[in-house]
Symmetry: C2
Subunit: 116 residues, 2 copies
């Protein structure tokens, strides 16, 4: 059975929603208040708050309350965990292709030398 990796599960699940990605998109330009984040979105403020909660719980976003304003910012460690998982799979797959390429090269060279 695969080892449970709840954080990565929740991070990818969170990234699977277009509104949540739109929020991260906005936050990649810098920290913003919840109401500022809600402005361009055609959904209720309550729905935005819920999406932000999902993003915060899985470590993709950090929020801070000062007086009546809650400011949100990207938490890079969350994005890094997701990117890290993908790039590890990608590089193992590429390494395998390299090994295959080298094996084919060796076979070709053996054939060349035996045909001399």
């Amino acid at each position: 059975m695969p080892q449970p990796t709840p954080d990565i599960d929740r991070i990818f699940h969170a990234l699977g929603d277009p509104t949540r990605r739109a929020l991260l998109e906005q936050l990649s330009d810098g920290p913003k208040s919840v109401s500022k984040l809600a402005e361009p979105l055609a959904i209720s403020l309550a729905a935005v708050v819920q999406h932000l909660q999902v993003l915060e719980e899985c470590g993709l976003v950090r929020t801070e309350k000062s007086g009546r304003v809650r400011t949100c910012r990207i938490e890079p460690t969350g994005l890094d965990a997701a990117a890290g998982w993908i790039s590890a799979r990608r590089s193992r797959w590429e390494q395998r292709l390299d090994t295959l390429g080298e094996m084919l090269q060796e076979v070709a060279e053996d054939e060349d030398s035996s045909s001399l």
Copy 2:
């Protein structure tokens, strides 16, 4: 409203499941048959087939049937799309930090020169 980007939605959704990630993990070592992929997993073959279908539909895996054996392999374009989305957000966020750093540097230099 965020633009609909169904592929990225489905890719991240697919990656949000530990069994599907375990399948990709296995496939990053090279192509494998469905029954070989099912071996280390404590779930039914039917469940494995369903997970593979999700992975294939969103472009993370390619499968090919030869006789009675279906061989599965990683489709790198799917992983690249997900990695690309993350790294674009990450680099925009970093660029903003750089700009902030430069602005602080300029302010510090202005203060230094005005205090001379």
